[in-house]
Amino acid sequence: MFSFSPDRSQYPQPGPDGKVEVDLETGKYLKLWHGPNHPGITGNMSVELTVCGDEVVEGKTHVGYLHRGFEKLMERRTFIQVFPIVCRVCVPEPDFNEYCYAAAVEELAGIEVPEMATWIRTLILEMGRFNSYMMAMGGISGALGLGVVGQWMTYTRDLMLDRFEELTGARIYHMFILPGGVRAHLPEGFEGRMEEVLSTAERYLADAEKLMFHSSVFKTRTQGVGYIDPALFERYGVTGPNARAGGVAKDVRKDSPYLVYDQLDFTVHTEEASDIYARTMVRFKDLHETIQLIRQILKKMPKEGPVMGNLPNVLHWKIPRGETYIKGESSRGEYGYYLVTDGTGYPRRINVRGPSYTHAMALLEHLISGTNISDVAALMVSLHTYPPEIER
């Protein structure tokens, strides 16, 4: 009926090197800071937008607001002292850091982990994935102005935090997966209470599904928006749900199983459209898969056994020279720790490979030009990025 597609010929065209030259002083463009103090940004980061009308011409991601210099701090802490600080690398899903670090240290130091501990670790990781996905679901609906789903999702996430608290002794930074094992057994009656949380979550998810995937407005806002060409996935290091939404059925849990994932049944869900809707859908399905996985783990796990392997005296623990890389499938994609030791009591170098690093920097900057200001928040949330793991 009417054509609303803007006349792109007025906009600056990218040069041969892919860079857009924008002359701000013509008054035609506006610099718009999306963050750091901005409800539409995921955490404390910012995107510097150059807009022309409602359309984004260029976007630059700025990070570093949360930089604490972890990789430097880790180098001057002993191997056990690194343990409390790794989880701070990623706030919403801290357990992955703990697992990757612990596994890397165990590999280089040659420590056996008891079977019970690997099951509990898997449980913790899946609970963390549940939380992270819940935040993503709430985030994407919030970014589109659908606050009520955000309320439900945060509520169910909070119920899971109660389970976390009961199991690990803390709400957010659990500091539970020690090198060598985990800190404690499951508390009495944990399974029953977990089941309550899971069924509540399923109820709320069914409601949320109606408000999201069965809502015409939601579809209008998300379908066809934020498309990532699957051909770019490998160039931009896209992993996890973002890649699965483009039909790439890759999941570290399936491809190179760690912990006890080889003993669990689960499906790797994919979508084809590779837009915001598809990415949200993949997360939604994965969330259900995670709920099933938690049930499965609680059913299959051994009922007793030691949770801690033998550690040397951690106060002067030295690990021989070596290097390793441990990876796993976090809720956002491939998460990895690169640990280099030099035979002293301190790690030589720890590098955290957070999936957000590639998603929020190169990929986001690539995707953001040409979108509408209104879609920036949704696009970012749909990539599911957490700034602390970018800058660490």
């Binding site: 002794g169 500091m175 015409s216 030691p306 106060l315």
Partner: protein, 598 residues
């Protein structure tokens, strides 16, 4: 766009009739049972070892002295003060706590507008959560520092009973590293060690494999490190932080592993006399025991000329003549003494002061005299028939000297100390050699767990076939003519009276007779002070039968010092400590004298 897509969002409105899921009263909500909340510290259990401070990656913990907690054996008197401007509630401090005193409550609310208020000593500064039973506690199976002592190889009882070979193998390098690894380097032991050896430092040398550095460290505080590595009473291990929730660190064996790991000849390279000028002053030392030789070692290293007068054949004192060979081989002692001699110490054996040379001669010939004569006279129980009993200390000397001692098939030993064990086990060996079987009975006033002897000694004695009868008071040594036939004992109800004085109470109905061809009294020793002569004995001041000395070991005579067992009781490491103390005092006096002359 289907109609369903338009209508289905409105289903959310069904929630409007539900009650809100909000927590009604969030202010009194309790955290979970395991919650890592604010810290608690049990003042009775805390020993102030500072492990929490060491493991804290946030530098959140300071060890501070607090009112009402005094430093003492195994307790530094310090308590952790936690800065909640640093803490991250990782609970590593709770995990590493050596005594389990530090725990966490599940309390989590602390709001204050004063930023300096967030610092407190848990357990001292009263907080609302002090008595909260819930909260984070370490699971029992999980320890961050090793709790089990590395196994020490020993000759099995069957093989060792027939000879006087050394029993303990000593740690292998791997065992030593494993054992040294368990040390948390709190240093509580240093205060307990009479010689205040730098225990954590040399243990860390073991961990690093730097045995030569460790040896040098040992010799700074103890020239009898080899002997102490074997036969020290290791008071340090009784105050080790690791003993509270596991085995104490085998400090003695680690010391031994350093001395054993360095080749004998390297000793003379590593421990050399410092380059100090000769002072031209000379000191005479009476008795070549640990106290005397330590004094000699220190003084010689300061450039004084030292002469040691020893009454017996060989130097070493009680270490040679009191301690059986299977615990301290003579070649070790010889080597040890040769290191001391390499400092320029002259040892004159078979020079009994009072016979070959008199005190007065020493007084005039030397600038100072040290009396370190040890305790070489056995005490007697003075029960009927005790004149027929042997003194343990005499017997041991005779065994060492190679003299013939009577070895009956049954021997009864009175006493529960190390000397009693030594003589019991020595006699057991002799019996084994002579009769092919062991027949030793040990009786003592104390209950078994109160024996003064080391636990290992008692265990090994039992293993070697000695019978131990605790809580038996000797009443009579049964004599048939000239020969001893046995020992009659009563059961002990209490050793001390209400005021804590020695006044044993017996149950006379519970009488036992231990048949024995020889009864050995090993209830203590005295010094043989006859060498002093009547005049000097008169001049000196005395305290309950011992020569009175000041804190530096000086007697009431300005030229005479006393050290070692004779003044501080029987113990090698005490003797070494005395030696150091006396040496410093003498050296100070000599320096003053020298300066006065110039």
């Amino acid at each position: 766009m289907s109609l369903r897509d338009v209508l289905s969002p409105f289903t959310a409105w069904k929630h409007v009739i539900n009650d809100p899921v909000t927590i009604k009263d969030p202010f009194s909500r309790e955290a979970s049972d395991r919650y890592r909340g604010f810290h608690q510290n049990d003042m009775d259990k805390c020993i102030g070892c500072g492990s929490c401070e060491e493991i804290c990656q946030n530098a959140a913990i300071d060890m501070v002295p607090v009112e009402g907690q005094n430093a003492g054996p195994g307790d530094s008197g310090l308590r952790p003060m936690i800065d909640y401007g640093r803490c991250c509630w990782c609970a590593l401090c709770v995990d590493v706590c050596m005594t389990g005193s530090l725990t966490m409550s599940n309390e989590y609310t602390w709001v204050d507008s004063d930023p300096d208020a967030f610092r407190f000593v848990p357990g001292v500064d009263a907080k609302s959560w002090d008595l909260e039973p819930k909260g984070y506690q370490r699971e029992d199976e999980r320890r961050l520092t090793g709790t089990v002592r590395a196994p020490m190889g020993e000759t099995c009882p069957e093989d060792r009973i027939g000879n006087f070979d050394e029993i303990v193998d000593g740690f292998t390098a791997e065992q030593a590293i494993i054992e040294a690894d368990r040390c948390v380097e709190c240093g509580l032991c240093v205060a307990t060690c009479p010689a205040h050896m730098d225990i954590p430092d040399y243990i860390s040398k073991v961990r690093d494999g730097d045995y030569e550095g460790g040896l040098q460290l040992l010799y700074e505080t103890n020239p009898f490190s080899q002997a102490c590595g074997r036969i020290c009473t290791h008071k340090c291990e009784t105050t080790c932080a690791a003993m509270h929730e596991g085995d104490a660190i085998a400090i003695r064996w680690l010391k031994r592993s350093i001395t054993d790991s360095v080749p004998r000849e390297r000793y003379f390279d590593l421990i050399q006399k410092p380059d100090v000028p000769e002072t031209g002053q000379s000191v005479a030392i009476i008795g070549a025991g640990p106290a005397g030789l330590t004094t000699a070692y220190d003084l010689a290293r300061k450039g004084h000329q030292v002469v040691v007068f020893e009454a017996l054949d060989k130097p070493g004192g009680m270490m040679r003549y009191g301690i059986p060979e299977y615990r301290l081989p003579y070649h070790v002692l010889d080597h040890e003494i040769s290191v001391i001699e390499s400092m320029g110490v002259e040892i004159r054996c078979n020079m009994r002061v009072g016979q070959e040379i008199s005190m007065d001669q020493l007084k005039t010939a030397y600038d100072a005299v040290v009396l370190s004569i040890g305790l070489h006279q056995g005490r007697s129980t003075r029960v009927p028939g005790s004149e027929k009993a042997e003194a343990a200390i005499d017997l041991l000397r005779r065994i060492t000297a190679g003299e013939e001692v009577p070895v009956p098939e049954q021997v009864a030993v009175i006493g529960g100390g190390n000397v009693a064990m030594d003589i019991a086990r020595s006699m057991a060996r002799l019996q084994k050699i002579k009769h092919g079987k062991v027949g030793v009975t040990v009786t003592a006033l104390e209950e078994l767990d109160r024996f003064l002897a080391d636990k290992e000694e008692i265990e090994e004695a039992l293993e070697e076939g000695c019978d131990i009868f605790p809580a038996r008071g000797p009443q009579e040594i049964l004599v048939d003519g000239d020969t001893v036939t046995g020992l009659r004992t009563w059961k002990v109800d209490a050793i001390f009276d209400a005021e804590g004085r020695f006044a044993p109470k017996y149950d006379e109905d519970d009488e036992m007779v231990h048949p024995a061809g020889m009864v050995v009294e090993a209830i203590g020793q005295m010094a043989d002070i006859s060498l002093l002569g009547a005049e000097l004995t008169e001049q000196l001041e005395w305290n309950r039968g011992r020569i009175m000395i000041d804190a530096d070991g000086q007697t009431s005579e300005p030229w005479l010092w006393a050290a070692g067992d004779a003044v501080s009781g029987p113990d090698v490491i005490h003797a070494v400590a005395d030696g150091h103390r006396v040496a410093v005092s003498i050296s100070r006096m000599l320096t003053a004298k020298r300066e006065a002359l110039q």
